[in-house]
C-alpha cells in the first residue's frame, strides 16, 4: 500500500487538504486536523466544538459528521510536539516503527466530555419526557464513538505497520462499544414503556438481522474477499516493479558487456559471477535489499562474503562461501578477516585451477573459525623461500600477534587448507 511508506511526522503536509489528525488527538482527531487546516490553535477549535455542543448538541452532530466524512491523516497542528512514532532497531537489524503509548490527553478528553455532558444534561431544560431519553442517547453516542475510534486506530496501525497491539484489547473495546449502544437502545425502549414487549421485539429484530445476514452475507463476504485480493495483487505488482527496476538495469548492462567481451572467456566469467552475486544478494539477502556496497562490513559474515566477492572479481576464480552463525567484528576478528582474505587471495592465485575455492566460517560461542580450502597442487610451507613473507607474515604472523592461531596444511588428495581460529572479545548473544 502506498501509505505504508508514510513520511516522517515532521515533513510538511501538502496544503489545502483536510485530514483528521491521528497524532495527539483526543477523540477522532477532527479538532486537531481542522486546526491544522485553518492554521488556528487547536484549543480554539475544541472550544468552538464544546460551545456548539451546548447549542442543542449541534457540536456533537458536526463533530460526528467530520469524523465520518473526513479521512484520517497524519500530522495536524502542533504534532511536532511529541513524535508519535519512533524508530527502534530490532535484534535482527531491521528498523521498525513503534507507536507511542496513548497519552494523558485522551483521558483528560474523556473526563472533559463526561463533565460537559453533565453540565449539558443539567442545563438543558427539556420537557420531562424528552429529558429521560438523554442518558440512553449519550450511552449510544459513547458506544459509537468507541467503535469508530477503534476503526481509526486499526487503519492507522495498518499504515504504520505497527499493528502489534493485542487483539484481545481491540475485541474488548469493540464489545464495550456494542454493549454501550445496546444498553442505550434498550434504555430507550424501556422508557417508551414498551418494556413488556421487549422480548418479542428482540426476537423480531434478531429474525430480521438473521434474514439480512442470510441475504447479504454471501455478497459481503465475497466483496471483502475481492477487496483483499485486489489489495494483495496491488502489493505484489508493486514489489515486482521494484525488483524489475533493480534487476532490469544491471542485468541488461551486464549482458551488453558480455556480448562485447565474448572472446575473452575470463572477463565473461568475471562479469557473470559478479552479476550472479549481485542478484543473489538482492533476491535472497535476509534483511534489507539495496544495502550500500561501500558500507564497512559490521559482522563476520558480511566481512567474509565481501572479501570473497572481491577476490573472486580480481582473480576470476569462483569462491564458494558458507557461513554458520554471525557476530559483530572486534579487533581480533578484523585481523582474522584480513588473514582470511590473504588466504583467499593465495588460494585463488595458486590453487584456483583445481576448481572452486571453498571458504567456511563458523562463529562459535567463544571462537570464530575460518577455513579456506583450494584444490590446487598444494604447497609446503618449509619449501617456500624465506624471503617470501606473504604467508608467514600476513597470515600466520597476523593471527598470532592478535592472539589467534593459524594452521596451514596440505590436504592428502591435493590442495591446501588454511585454518584460522580467533577468540571472540566478548560473548554477545
Amino acid at each position: 500500500m502506498p501509505e505504508a511508506a508514510a513520511p516522517p511526522v515532521d515533513v510538511p503536509r501538502p496544503p489545502r487538504k483536510l485530514y483528521r489528525s491521528s497524532d495527539g488527538r483526543w477523540l477522532g482527531g477532527v479538532a486537531r486536523g481542522l486546526a491544522g487546516h485553518l492554521g488556528l490553535p487547536v484549543i480554539w477549535v475544541r472550544l468552538v466544538f464544546v460551545g456548539l455542543f451546548m447549542a442543542d448538541g449541534l457540536g456533537a452532530l458536526l463533530y460526528a459528521a467530520f469524523w465520518f466524512f473526513v479521512p484520517l491523516g497524519v500530522g495536524g497542528v502542533g504534532s511536532e510536539r511529541t513524535p508519535a512514532f519512533t524508530t527502534e532497531t530490532a535484534q535482527d537489524g531491521r528498523r521498525r516503527l513503534v507507536a507511542r503509548k496513548p497519552d494523558k490527553g485522551q483521558i483528560v478528553a474523556l473526563l472533559l466530555m463526561v463533565v460537559v455532558s453533565m453540565v449539558f444534561v443539567g442545563n438543558v431544560n427539556l420537557a420531562g419526557n424528552a429529558k429521560a431519553y438523554l442518558w440512553p442517547t449519550l450511552l449510544v453516542g459513547a458506544g459509537v464513538a468507541l467503535v469508530w475510534r477503534q476503526a481509526d486506530n486499526a487503519r492507522r496501525a495498518r499504515w504504520m505497520e505497527a499493528g502489534r497491539r493485542k487483539r484481545t484489547l481491540n475485541l474488548a473495546r469493540a464489545a464495550a462499544g456494542v454493549v454501550l449502544v445496546g444498553a442505550g437502545v434498550t434504555g430507550i425502549f424501556v422508557l417508551q414503556g414498551s418494556a413488556e414487549h421487549l422480548g418479542s421485539i428482540l426476537q423480531a429484530a434478531l429474525a430480521v438481522l438473521v434474514g439480512i445476514a442470510l441475504l447479504a452475507g454471501p455478497y459481503l463476504v465475497r466483496m471483502t474477499q475481492d477487496l483483499s485480493e485486489e489489495r494483495l495483487m496491488r502489493i505484489r505488482a508493486q514489489e515486482r516493479a521494484e525488483v524489475a527496476a533493480h534487476v532490469h538495469d544491471s542485468v541488461l548492462h551486464t549482458l551488453t558487456l558480455i556480448q562485447r567481451n565474448a572472446e575473452s572467456a575470463s572477463e565473461v566469467r568475471r562479469l557473470a559471477r559478479a552479476q550472479e552475486r549481485d542478484l543473489r544478494a538482492w533476491l535472497y539477502r535476509p534483511e534489507g535489499n539495496g544495502k550500500d556496497e561501500a558500507e564497512e562490513p559490521g559482522t563476520v559474515g558480511e566481512a567474509v562474503k565481501r572479501s570473497a566477492a572481491e577476490v573472486e572479481d580480481k582473480h576470476g576464480v569462483p569462491l564458494e562461501v558458507v557461513v554458520v552463525g554471525d557476530c559483530p567484528l572486534d579487533d581480533g576478528l578484523s585481523a582474522q578477516m584480513q588473514a582470511a582474505r590473504e588466504a583467499m587471495v593465495n588460494a585463488a592465485k595458486y590453487g584456483g585451477e583445481g576448481g572452486a575455492v571453498q571458504v567456511y566460517a563458523e562463529v562459535e560461542e567463544e571462537t570464530v573459525f575460518v577455513s579456506v580450502r583450494d584444490r590446487g597442487p598444494g604447497f609446503d610451507l618449509d619449501s617456500i623461500p624465506a624471503d617470501r613473507m606473504g604467508v608467514r607474515e600476513s597470515i600466520i604472523g597476523r593471527m598470532e600477534r592478535n592472539g589467534g592461531t593459524a594452521r596451514l596444511r596440505a590436504v592428502p588428495d591435493g590442495g591446501t587448507e588454511v585454518e584460522l581460529t580467533m577468540k571472540r572479545a566478548e560473548k554477545t548473544p
Binding site: 535472497y284 564458494e320 590436504v411
Partner: protein
C-alpha cells in the same frame, strides 16, 4: 563415479568419463526452464557413459506428478521453484510413491535458490538431498546414484544451513534424539561445509565412508522429523527478502 557396492566416491574430477558404468538410474527432470532441462539432459543424459537415463521431463507441478506417476523413475531431480506450488507441492503429492515398499521414488532437490527456507522446505518435504545448479555433471551423476541408494546428499551450503538451524539454543529440545546433532554428526557436517568429499571426511576422521554416509543420513532424518519449532522459526526469520 561410482563403484559396484553403492559406495560412490565423491567428486573425483580426474575420473575418466568413459569409464564403463556398472549401474543404471532412471531419472525424471522437473524444472520450469526448458533451457536448463536441455543442459542437464546434455550433461548427464548420455546413458552409455553416465548410466543415467532421463525418462521424463516436467515443467510444472501437475505435469511433474503425472510424469512421475507414469514413469516411476528411481530418482527425480526437482527444482525448488515451480509454477503450481513449487517443489514442496510435488513432494506432498508424491508422498505415496516415496513411501512405496518396492522401488520407491527418491527426490534430489536441484536449485539455483540460495534461500535457506526454500532448501530446508524441500528437505523437510522429503527430498533426500540438495545440490545447487552450479554442480558439475560428474558430481551430479554421482549424487543421483547416491540418492538412488537411499543415501543423503548434502552440498556444502546445505550443511551450513543445517548447522545454523541446529545451532545450540537455550530452549530445551522437545525430543533429545531428534532435536540435537551428535558431536560426530556436527563434525561430519562441518567438513562437508568446508568442501570435503565423503572419502576425504572418512580419511580425516578415521572412519569408513559407510559410517560417514550413515551420519549424513541420520542428520537428514533429524532434519525431516525434528519437530522443534526453532527450525520453522529459523526459516521464517530468513524469509523476509
Amino acid at each position: 563415479m561410482s563403484d559396484e557396492q553403492g559406495k560412490p566416491d565423491a567428486t573425483e574430477a580426474s575420473a575418466p568419463e568413459t569409464e564403463p558404468v556398472g549401474r543404471h538410474a532412471r531419472v525424471v527432470l522437473v524444472d520450469d526452464h526448458r533451457m536448463f532441462r536441455t543442459g542437464v539432459q546434455a550433461e548427464i543424459g548420455r546413458t552409455e557413459t553416465t548410466g543415467v537415463e532421463v525418462v521424463g521431463e516436467a515443467a510444472d507441478v501437475d505435469q511433474a506428478v503425472t510424469v512421475i506417476t507414469a514413469t516411476r523413475p528411481e530418482v527425480v531431480l526437482l527444482d525448488v521453484h515451480l509454477p503450481g506450488g513449487g517443489g514442496v507441492e510435488v513432494l506432498r503429492r508424491c508422498a505415496p510413491l516415496m513411501a512405496a515398499a518396492d522401488n520407491p521414488v527418491r527426490f534430489l532437490a536441484l536449485s539455483v535458490s540460495d534461500a535457506a527456507e526454500d532448501v530446508i522446505g524441500v528437505i523437510r518435504g522429503g527430498a533426500r538431498g540438495y545440490v545447487t545448479k552450479t554442480i558439475t555433471g560428474t558430481d551430479l551423476v554421482d549424487s543421483i546414484f547416491r540418492v538412488q541408494d537411499g543415501d543423503a546428499v548434502f552440498s556444502p551450503r546445505l550443511a551450513g544451513f543445517v548447522l545454523d538451524a541446529f545451532a545450540s539454543t537455550d530452549a530445551p529440545p522437545v525430543d533429545e534424539d531428534l532435536d540435537r546433532l551428535t558431536q560426530r554428526e556436527r563434525e561430519v557436517l562441518r567438513l562437508i561445509a568446508r568442501g570435503y568429499a565423503y572419502k576425504e571426511i572418512a580419511k580425516q576422521l578415521f572412519i569408513s565412508v559407510k559410517t560417514v554416509e550413515s551420519h549424513v543420513s541420520a542428520v537428514l532424518r533429524k532434519l525431516q522429523l525434528s519437530n522443534r519449532h526453532e527450525l520453522t522459526r529459523w526459516a521464517t526469520a530468513r524469509r523476509l527478502v
